[in-house]
Subunit: 268 residues, 6 copies
């Protein structure tokens, strides 16, 4: 029946390495030193949880503009931690639950994590979990309050927990008093320079050869001029522009056209 | 009984080619190059979904002023895609459901789509689905949040999904943070120039012969003067003005009178 | 019992010619060319629905100041249409229903209309149906959203439907985005000139003879001076002033006194 | 049990002459021509309902400052009408009902009235019925909307109904769009002049003899000086001041002291 | 079980002389003529209810700054009235009830009082009963509206009722339109002058002898300088400062230190 | 099943010395005279409750910036009181309860405390209990109102109760009118001077020896320059910085880097 049908689709538990892998489907391209720096920072959190005796919960918030790679970097951190228990929760998992059911679901996720001596939870897109809407600053107060209490709560004796969370709305979380509940914060920026763009195209082996890639970068450079030289496009959008250009059978021109469209939309 | 009676009227599933056809009942008149450009853009989305290996969801938002032909163009795109599964959802389908039922209905629509390897969903009039009301910026937060999560969620392995959506309230969706969830956006404008109007009348074989049509265009031109030369009337309203004139047994004068009335109402 | 008692009072269905007749109890006095023009406009809608093949729904909104005769003119249009199925819905019919029940009631009214090949619905006082309150711009969002979806929805194949609606709050409906759902709009004004007033008194055979009527008009003229010469009183209030004067056994003076009181109250 | 206990206290029906009498417990003192004028105005409404063939509902709103005698004058009008069915509803009758129950109660009151060919309803303190609160302009939208629909609804064939309502918050009802639903309005003022005060004391046979009453009036005159010569105290408060003075065994001084206190409190 | 456990704690009825006594646990210190004046004013209300034939309800509101002795003075009035039935209601009694249950509880309290020919109700801390919160002016509209209707309602024939109420938020009650429902108002001030403070210390036999008390007063005088010479501390806080000083084993200095802390906190 | 699983995690009762101990896991470092002063103030409350005959409830609010040690100091006070019954309540304990259940839980906690002649309750993080959200000043009005009533309510005869509460949002509690319900308030500051920082490092035996600690302090001094010489970091964050530095294998530099990051984040 209907409920069974839905359960097939998102079984609440057993979220695991498989779903973490799907978050980094296109791999992590090391197109800039920032990428390494982000991963180094989250690694400290992993190690504090693992080794320091007194620090039982540590929580870290990855924040940045849309499609900048936040989810992929958080998932990569969790995968590299080698913790025995790692789980992902996304807004999609909470669809169709009323607020009370969401709260119980999240509570249970943490309670289950407390059963393992060492675990990590990836709370992906937390503004989505609290149904944040910018206009009128609306959100689910009870889910917000639950997340805050769960993140702040020290786990029981001999249990250690790392909370990794991502958000595209840092300033919202600041207004809501939720960002303050996190032990540390890591910024995940969009692509900035043309050099970074060139490196992405190279690492992704996009377009037909180096010459075409250089042409693409220089075409984007023209458009970026209007943008103060900044690209300001997330890695996920860059990789999509590569795909859209390919489908149109086009080369550097098609790619630059797609990039221009995204840059224009981002400006609003 | 009552529930049966309602079910006859809108059976949730089995929405199909038939209902898509009804969305383009008056066909697509190619009265301007913009029409072709719109259809070319949505075709790229169709092809990215169909052929690119890594891009499993693509979503496109068709936006424009009232009665400009958004629904017809989205339906035409879906019809031309030849995807094995294509479904339409409109606010009418959600009448009489409470918010939770709407959420489960939408969730099920997506879950069903995930069962087919390649499918397209047409979410028609999404501001209507979230009960958007401009005054006081009111809306259903939970339906909004569900739509956002569904559109952003990557489908399961080996599944591909194209989401086509239409809206007459782009700026509302921007405020609500929903437009950002779409991979690309396509603008569907109202009729602009008198030339376009003439072409519509010709393609629709409206009024009695070319002379009468030309007279109609020149009468509208006078009214458009007050409008800065712009017509600013959607294709759907133009075709209705043709019908109203016909019913009154009138020719160019009756048509121009109807156009004038619509142009006046649009100004407010 | 209680529910039975209520059902006696407003049986949801079977609303018919009888209730339409009650809406025009005092007949339609043709006291001004505007009256004819209003009825001519709504007749076009009737004919578009009846005869044009492609236009399956047409909706028209009659709007104007309080007691100007909106309901009577809409009812007269429906009566003259000779459509096989004509129904009236008013806020009174929805009393005691919660929002969900109202939505289902309205949905059923439309679903029933879709069963007849040609029907008309008169939605009387739609701001009352959505519980509109000017202060704080409050209203029932779900009823509003349902009305919008019902009015916009094309009926099933081979079904034609004319929606006639009345409102005393056009600007509210504009703010709420509901007026835009209507295909056309017709303004129903209050009495403007003294000449119109004289014509009403004559057609209604009010007061004792022509001399007394002329005296009444000239007494009202004095009061109207403060009003910039405008009367600004709806036909329904004029007919009530006639009755109040009669009860007091008074003639022109009593009538003018009542008119003055109404004009004063209207000014606020 | 508990519900029984409550039912003893306010049995919903059978409200009758007895409860009307309690509203004018201290009689109607004809201390000013305004009192007669108010009663004359409401008598026209009574007669329009009784005798005019076409006017089936008439509604009149008595408004004025706190404790000015609104309820007593409305009750007196109903008592004098000699209509076969007269009922009173007050906010007290609605205590403990949720909004839906209030709506059904009011609906039933009107439905019962429709069973009699000629009836009057006294809706006492309608701002209390809709839970009006000035700060933030809060109120029960559904009760408001129901009252509006009930007052506007024409009764069934051959039924006539007079609605008498009282309010201390006319401007609130104007903002809420409810005052507009009434056919006519009557203002009930507080005591204005010292002469009126003297007349009240005399008619109520207050204090010890004429000399003491004159002294009282002249003492109040001093206090009223600060008030611009206006008393601005409702008849109900004046009669209470008489009682408080009596309890203290005091004469003119005690009375004037009490009046001064009330005048001071009214100023805020 | 749980509900039993709670019932032990606050049995809704049988609130009586015992609980009144607890409200004046530290007695009434007659440290200023204001105290006598307050009690004299409330005594008039007691007598009006007792003896005047026509005045069946009288209600009085005691208002003042926090901890100024409002509850104690109201309780003392009720104790001195010697009415056969006296009951106290506080926000604590309403804990755990939803709004509807609160309304029914209050309704029952009044209904029970109507069973006795002569009774008094003490509604202690009415802003607490309506869940008043200053920020955003939030409160329970239905409880507010019920209290208003109960206080305004005349009791049945041959029943007399005195309503005593206390509040620390007079201006809130004014905004909410509730203060206007009371027949009279009595202000209960905080301690004003140093002389009053000295009298309190003396009457309470605080500190070690007269010399220490005089020293205390003069130390407080210094701190009060910054306060414009005003103390502005309620009697309840003064008596607590006496206790805190005693616990610290300190004399005048400790007392003055505590007073200073309270005066500082009051300033914000 | 699910409910059992949750119950394992937080059994509502039996919260005891063990959970108090966990609140001061890293002990109390006496790094400044303020610490002693705070503990001395709360000790007076303990003694007033224990020994003064008439003061049956005393309540104290510990407030300060995030992570300044509020919870640890309140727990230490409770531990040192040697009261026979001591309980802790935190927002975590209330997760998954609806507002009514929270209210009943809190009510029961107090009712249970009233059973013991002498008890202390630690309400930790009360802004979390009322779901306080700064944006839009949202909160649970019913929980707020319940806490206020519970804190103000005098316990039954021969019962004494000390309420210890902590908050990081004093100004919110002031706006909400809750801080006023507390008998006294104690401020818990963050680390201010470099000297205090040096003392913490020493008492915690952090870093490798005195020289490294001095280097750390002087590196932090540079960063603090930008901060006006103020550190403004809570003791909990300082101890975490010590751990993060240790995990990175770093000495004074790593520690100073972590401190700098926290100081930067605190500035927003
Ligand atoms: N250096 C990188 N950092 C992050 N992601 C990368 C990097 N290189 C490649 N990717 C790929 O880019 C995509 C990043 O998408 P991701 O969903 O993580 O972005 P996001 O910021 O979470 O987006 P959203 O704002 O929609 O949540 C992934 O497919 C990932 O495999
Ligand atoms: N070039 C065109 N583009 C779109 N529609 C066209 C075109 N030519 C003719 N039509 C016809 O015009 C009508 C467009 O109506 P449609 O419902 O798509 O407009 P819409 O913008 O969705 O209106 P609404 O704002 O009410 O949702 C359809 O009947 C369609 O068959
Ligand atoms: N020319 C006319 N147009 C409309 N109504 C007329 C006309 N002549 C007479 N009448 C009578 O006037 C009355 C108009 O009342 P009606 O209820 O239609 O007004 P309304 O504008 O709908 O009022 P409301 O604002 O209260 O809804 C009816 O009784 C109708 O028979
Ligand atoms: N001329 C008068 N008009 C009205 N009431 C009068 C008059 N003379 C005496 N009374 C007495 O004064 C009292 C008026 O009280 P009433 O309850 O009608 O005032 P109200 O304006 O309805 O007060 P509230 O604002 O509290 O509703 C009644 O007891 C009535 O018998
Ligand atoms: N003259 C006095 N007036 C009032 N209370 C007095 C007086 N003298 C001594 N007291 C004692 O002072 C205390 C006053 O406390 P009470 O609870 O009445 O204050 P309150 O104003 O109601 O406080 P809150 O604002 O918290 O409701 C009581 O214990 C009472 O016995
Ligand atoms: N002097 C001190 N005062 C308080 N806590 C101290 C002190 N010295 C060491 N600590 C330790 O510092 C930590 C303080 O953390 P605590 O949870 O009490 O802070 P908090 O202010 O309640 O934080 P939050 O704002 O997150 O509620 C505890 O682990 C405690 O053992
Ligand atoms: Mg993401
Ligand atoms: Mg459309
Ligand atoms: Mg009407
Ligand atoms: Mg009244
Ligand atoms: Mg009190
Ligand atoms: Mg804490």
């Amino acid at each position: 029946d209907f409920n069974n049908a839905l359960e097939e689709v998102h079984s609440a538990f057993g979220v695991s390495e498989d779903s973490l892998q799907r978050c980094v489907e296109d791999g992590i391209l090391h197109y800039s030193p920032t990428i390494d720096s982000c991963l180094r920072q989250t690694a400290v959190d992993v190690n504090v949880v693992r080794s320091a005796p007194g620090a039982r919960t540590t929580s870290v918030l990855l924040h940045g503009p849309p499609r900048s790679g936040k989810t992929a970097l958080a998932a990569q951190t969790a995968l590299s931690s080698d913790f025995p228990l790692v789980k992902v929760v996304t807004p999609y998992d909470l669809i169709g639950m009323n607020d009370m059911a969401k709260v119980q679901h999240l509570h249970k996720i943490f309670a289950d994590a407390y059963k393992s001596p060492l675990s990590a939870l990836l709370l992906d897109d937390i503004e989505g979990m609290i149904d944040w809407v910018p206009v009128g600053a609306r959100f689910s107060a009870v889910v917000l309050s639950t997340l805050r209490a769960l993140i702040l709560h020290p786990p029981p004796k001999d249990r250690k927990l790392l909370v990794l969370a991502t958000t595209g709305e840092l300033s919202a979380l600041e207004q809501l008093g939720l960002s303050r509940a996190f032990g540390s914060k890591v910024a995940v920026p969009a692509l900035g320079s043309l050099q970074e763009l060139g490196r992405v195209l190279e690492l992704a082996d996009a377009l037909d050869g180096q010459a075409e890639r250089e042409k693409a970068v220089s075409l984007v450079a023209d458009a970026a001029g209007a943008n103060g030289g900044q690209i300001g496009v997330g890695i996920k959008d860059v990789l999509m522009a590569v795909r859209r250009a390919k489908v149109q059978g086009g080369g550097a021109d098609a790619f630059a056209g797609e990039m221009e469209r995204v840059m224009l939309e981002n400006r609003f």
